[in-house]
């Protein structure tokens, strides 16, 4: 039973509105669902994220915490009300500063910033932070948001900035091409596309870590709730009820079949009319649970009954990389250091919970949802639902952050099942709690390592063992187990090496892909030991890294000879002046014995771009229509990182046309070829390379048709291409050409797959064709009586080969650092305990210090225009650099992440 609807009138964005609804309905849902203003986003429904911030009589409030009755006769302003014909100054500033990445939090920031700027047009940094502290962003690292708000009052020099001319797109620090709808509120995310006639879907999930279950009277349940249409369980799944991102390890049922293996696992879906489903209290659902024994951590899982009978000992995969004789080398070393590190489950905490809808289009199931990997979604959903892959079409919405977790299926098979069974559109938006308990996490790592050095400080050998809690299902566990051993040496020449990585099943949350696939955890192990070696040897910690940094011509621990493009030395060299300045400052500050001590830390990263020694091609299509429109089928899903802009920049320069000439077609599987998943820092490099090849191929076709040389220039006009070379000017009339099956008169479609060599039994091969490198310096203050850490500044030098778009590259670096800060200092997903964004803490705008970015460009011969991947690299050095800086300040190493005040103080007191 719900409340009697009452009429409520208020002013919305300057116009009167009235709505008849439940008086206790949340304002956010009334705005979005009753009135159709979807610019206001819902990230948590609990006031923890601020995405739903609106102004009520000019004051920012969380619309999710306000009853609609309380806004009666008041004035509401949402993001849609900020622009008045043209963008407001702060909207413009967000665009030009790159303050919007995925855009899901952008409305909340813009609204809160508008309230601040009304009172105070020229706020200082602290005022901006105080005003915006209630809005969370997971992409940007906040620095560009602060810049944008502080500079909103400045005259807009960029307002009429022209896009670069032909041949000048690569390297231009352009605002993102798809940014405008992100600042106006027009962008459509997974929860914003629901058709009015869609059924709602509620998911019944296991409240237990491990349980068998039996359903009660499901038909009776439906009958007792008018408006419900059906309940579906595993028995209703028409295909193979087993999915997984790596086909060989696919093990996860879309709906569990009799046994639930983790808390939050889906066991049934309830479909019905929206009001009926929203009125359900799913605690009344007829299911009887029988709890079974469970293991949540690696230590207990190793000895427990297998989660999957086919995987004895709960070992999913063990990866190894071995080179030389590591034990003998350590035994012969001048010095050996040994350590252990434990890291926590880390939640992706994108501000957009998983959402979308499914509908039948003839005999094709169309799924419109947020995602990082449309073709993988298509193939796995088709398998589960017993359809041919071509009978499933994935239409990605804007994706409000992903960071790895939206590679795996979430809502797709559930809404797909309902649409397929009922023939009606079916929509589902995960609640924050559902999102957190049911989707993947970063693997907790339990790591041990020993590293040896000779008297000159050269690394002699390393042994690394890491166990990673992969949870109940495989997801990307195998990838972590393989990637970690390849990378655990760090970007350093390590002649003797043995590293093992194991993915261990438990009944904990599923661990999957999260920006770095285990490498950020392993880097904490290696980089903290490097500091110990350097300090014990009496060497400067940066110099020690420079001595050992991998150089062109050397061979990696995986046996790959690095011919060129190794940029770690350049990164470390670039940091030297900052390092010297920071050390001198710290010495001065720490001269007086004070409660607050300054610490300086440094750490490096390397990271191979793309899949590890297995194919992962991307295909890019460029077509020209008879009308002269140039279309780029850009299948690299832009989850905020900027592929819509970067791939277009590459294509424009490869083809030799101005950026403005290109129209982008998105990653809809029915119209755009597969550009692979947005994962593994692969899109700029691999899809970029496909775009480069495609652009060059199309250019070649045009030049050949015009019979001119490579020096010619192209321009597109209505119905024609004009080719100019010196005095010669040729005009290709497009109407004279015939259209192909895709509707183009000229087209190029090129694929690129990195030339790699699979790893052999000892983990030797050529796992990646391109690597990126980086190093970061952290300056921080530790309050030695409270254990609190205040970050002062972070300087990041990243070798990106070629910065296709320096503005977006900086945005990636700042955002990755923010996630590294979270991992280092506060993020601790405790299963069953932190399924919300107030117990699970991610950095706020006040937790990210100024970040100085140094873009290093050591070109890679393989990457497009020399470019390397960047997306994951950027968070790898942050956490170890923070731990190293805390130790520098206090002498105490925190060995269990996150380094909360409690743990830092315990380490200082020797209780750690």
């Amino acid at each position: 039973m719900s409340f009697t609807p009452v009429p409520i009138a208020f002013e919305l964005n300057g116009a009167p509105v009235s709505v008849t609804t439940s008086p206790v309905a949340r304002l956010s849902s009334v705005l979005r669902d009753d009135l159709g203003w979807t610019g206001t986003k819902v990230g948590c429904d609990a006031g923890d994220c601020g995405a739903c911030t609106v102004l009520v009589d000019g004051e920012p409030v969380c619309a999710c915490l306000m009853s609609v009755a309380q806004v009666g006769s008041r004035k509401i302003t949402t993001v849609e009300g900020l622009a008045n014909g043209s963008l407001s100054a702060v909207q413009e500033a967000f665009l030009r500063h790159g303050a919007a990445q995925c855009g899901i939090c952008t409305p909340g920031f813009l609204v809160a910033a508008t309230a601040l700027l009304e009172r105070n047009p020229t706020p200082c940094e602290a005022e901006v932070e105080d005003a915006l502290g209630g809005v969370l962003c997971r992409c940007t690292g906040y620095r560009k948001i602060v810049e944008a708000v502080m500079s909103a009052h400045l005259p807009d020099r960029y307002h009429n900035q022209l896009l670069p001319d032909a041949g000048h797109a690569v390297g231009a620090a352009l605002p993102r091409l798809d940014g405008r709808p992100k600042v106006t509120g027009e962008e459509r995310f997974g929860a914003d596309v629901r058709p009015a006639d869609a059924l709602s879907v509620a998911v019944i999930r296991s409240p237990h870590w491990h349980a068998s279950f039996a359903f009660g009277d499901l038909e009776g349940y439906v009958a007792a709730h008018p408006g419900l249409v059906a309940v579906y369980t595993s028995r209703d799944i028409p295909g193979e009820n087993r999915f997984g991102v790596i086909p060989a390890y696919a093990d996860q049922p879309a709906l569990a079949d009799g046994i639930a293996r983790f808390r939050g696992e889906a066991v049934a879906v309830v479909a019905g009319e929206r009001q009926a489903v929203e009125a359900l209290d799913i605690r009344d659902f007829p299911v009887i649970w029988t709890e079974l024994s469970h293991a949540l951590d690696v230590a207990s899982a190793l000895g427990a009954k297998p989660v999957h009978a086919s995987r004895p000992g709960n070992v999913l995969v063990a990866g190894v990389v071995e080179r030389g004789d590591a034990e003998a080398a350590l035994a012969a070393s001048h010095m050996v250091v040994t350590g252990e590190i434990e890291t926590a489950y880390v939640e992706h905490a994108y501000i957009e919970p998983e959402a979308g809808f499914a509908a039948m289009d003839g005999d094709t199931l169309v799924i419109t949802a947020c995602t990082q990997s449309p073709f993988m979604d298509r193939d796995d959903t088709a398998k589960v639902l017993g359809l041919a892959p071509e009978k499933v079409r994935i239409v990605p919405t804007a994706t409000g952050g992903g960071f790895g977790s939206k590679l795996d299926l979430s809502v797709q098979p559930l809404i797909g099942l309902v649409a397929l069974k009922t023939g009606r559109p079916a929509a589902l938006t995960y609640s924050r709690a559902e999102s957190m308990m049911s989707t993947t996490k970063r693997h907790p790592g339990s790591m041990r390592a020993s590293i040896g050095a000779d008297a000159d400080g050269r690394i002699t050998g390393m042994v690394f063992e890491g166990d990673f809690n992969t949870g109940a299902y495989a997801s990307w566990g195998p990838t972590v187990a393989v990637r970690v051993p390849v990378h655990a040496s760090g970007p350093y020449f390590t002649p003797n090496y043995r590293a093992t990585g194991r993915a261990i099943h438990s009944n904990g949350p599923i661990s999957g892909a999260f920006r770095g696939f285990g490498v950020p955890q392993a880097a904490v192990m290696q980089e903290t030991l490097y500091d110990e070696l350097a300090v014990t040897l009496g060497m400067d910690r940066l110099d020690f890294r420079l001595v050992n940094a991998l150089r062109d011509g050397q061979t990696t621990v995986a046996g790959q000879e690095m011919e060129s493009g190794v940029g770690i030395v350049a990164c470390l060299e670039a940091l030297k002046p900052v390092w010297q300045r920071a050390l001198a400052e710290a010495a001065r500050i720490n001269r007086d014995d004070r409660t607050v001590r300054r610490g300086i830390g440094v750490a490096s990263c390397w990271y191979g771009c793309g899949n590890t020694g297995i194919p992962n091609p991307s295909t890019i299509r460029l077509g020209i229509t008879q009308a002269g429109e140039l279309v780029l089928h850009q299948g690299a899903v832009d989850i905020g990182q900027g592929s819509n802009t970067v791939i277009t920049q590459i294509a424009a320069d490869a083809l030799g046309v101005p950026l403005a000439a290109i129209r982008i077609e998105g990653a809809d599987t029915s119209v755009t070829p597969d550009a692979g998943k947005t994962s593994g820092s692969r899109q700029t490099y691999i899809t970029g390379k496909a775009a480069e090849k495609s652009g060059r191929a199309l250019r070649e076709t045009i030049l050949r048709a015009a019979n001119v040389s490579q020096a010619a220039t192209l321009s597109l006009e209505a119905g024609a291409i004009v080719v100019t070379e010196g005095e010669a000017r040729r005009r290709i009339e497009l109407s004279t050409l015939s259209e192909n099956a895709h509707g183009y008169v000229l087209m190029a479609e090129e694929s690129y797959d990195p030339p790699t060599v699979p790893l052999g039994p000892r983990g030797q091969g050529k796992p990646y064709a391109v690597y990126g490198y980086g190093a970061q310096i952290v300056e921080l203050d530790v309050d030695t009586r409270l254990g609190t850490v205040k970050l002062v500044r972070i300087t990041a030098a990243h070798d990106v080969g070629r910065a296709i778009n320096p503005l977006l590259a900086e945005g990636q670096i700042e955002g990755g650092i923010a996630q590294g800060i979270g991992m280092a200092l506060m993020e601790d997903y405790v299963p069953g305990r932190t399924e919300n964004l107030h117990d699970y803490l991610i950095p706020t705008i006040g937790d990210v210090p100024p970040i100085d970015t140094i873009l290093v460009e050591v070109p890679d011969p393989e990457g497009p225009f020399g470019a390397k991947g960047l997306g994951e690299h950027v968070l790898i050095p942050t956490a170890p650099a923070i731990l190293n800086a805390i130790r520098d300040a206090t002498g105490a190493l925190v060995t269990r992440l996150p380094a909360t005040p409690s743990r830092v103080l315990a380490a200082i007191r020797g209780r750690g």
Partner: protein, 287 residues
């Protein structure tokens, strides 16, 4: 079908409450998060339209804060220095968005061990005014919040105001919040202090409260007593000893260990006192 009422006067509200069975909705900042995705099935008494419950006034020298006064209104109000700790706490309640709607009485009625408003109100010797058709009563705050999520409010009572006695609106106050991040954070520990000094600069009266280190924020009476008569300077902090914190019962949880909380409580009490003494800028937040 659940009932919904939105009275415009306290009398209407208490008349309804006398019927029984109501859940009170004020700013909504605790109500909606606790509700989660479940449908609302309770009878809801929405007190958001009762203007008489808002605002700050003086009554016979007491400072009376209407129950539905928002944290933002408290931050913006002209109040004696003794309220600086309350204002500082108000700025740390959630975020600006929460402060704009969350109410002072809601913070008390929600009775979280980590309620930001409680320590600062304890050092002001605040009283809670409750009204029902049975009459009006006042309880000292320490007798109002009984435990984790438990208060002395009877089901038919409405909290109408928080009252700070004239005598306690004196002196300087300070607040220290310790959390694991800068904004939107639930406290690991909090300290609020209020110090009155005599003409010689000696501590004449002082009030000290610690939050998030026991089920209900606690006053540290023994420490208060031991400080009285000492000069309000750094040396006074030397008397702070383990025994003064006996009344606390911190827990181990995801935010911190009990051992840490105890140690941190002593540290932040010292810093808040130093700030109130004016010897150092200790007030603030650490994250």
């Amino acid at each position: 079908m659940p009932r919904y009422a939105r009275p415009s006067t306290p009398d209407e509200a208490i008349a309804l409450l006398a019927e029984g069975g109501w859940t009170i909705l004020a700013g909504g900042t605790d109500f909606y998060p606790a509700q989660g995705a479940r449908p609302i099935r309770d009878d809801i008494l929405d007190i958001g339209a009762i203007e008489a419950l808002r605002g700050i006034r003086e009554d016979k020298g007491d400072i009376v804060i209407g129950a539905a006064t928002s944290w933002t209104e408290i931050v913006r109000a002209r109040l004696p220095m003794a309220f600086d700790a309350l204002k500082a706490a108000a700025r740390e309640v959630g975020s600006v968005q929460i402060q704009n709607t969350g109410t002072i009485a809601g913070n008390l009625c929600n009775a979280s061990p980590a309620a930001d408003g409680v320590p600062a109100l304890l050092v002001l010797d605040a009283e809670v005014e409750l009204a029902s058709t049975r009459g009006i009563r006042r309880l000292p705050l320490r007798d109002f919040v009984l435990g984790n999520r438990r208060t002395a409010r009877a089901a038919d009572e409405l909290v109408t105001a928080i009252r700070v006695p004239t005598a306690s609106a004196a002196g300087r106050s300070s607040f220290f919040k310790l959390g694991a991040r800068r904004y939107l954070v639930i406290s690991i520990a909090m300290a609020a202090v209020r110090v009155e000094t005599d003409l010689q600069g000696r501590i004449a009266r002082c009030a000290i409260a610690v939050g998030a280190c026991s089920a209900v924020a606690r006053r540290l009476e023994r420490l208060e007593a031991d400080l009285v008569g000492r000069p309000a300077d750094a040396a006074a902090l030397g008397v702070i000893g383990e025994r003064h914190f006996d009344g606390l019962a911190p827990i181990d949880d995801v935010r911190a260990s009990a051992v840490y909380r105890m140690e941190a409580a002593r540290e932040i009490v010292g810093r808040a006192l130093a700030d109130a003494f004016g010897t150092t800028a200790g007030q603030g937040v650490a994250a």
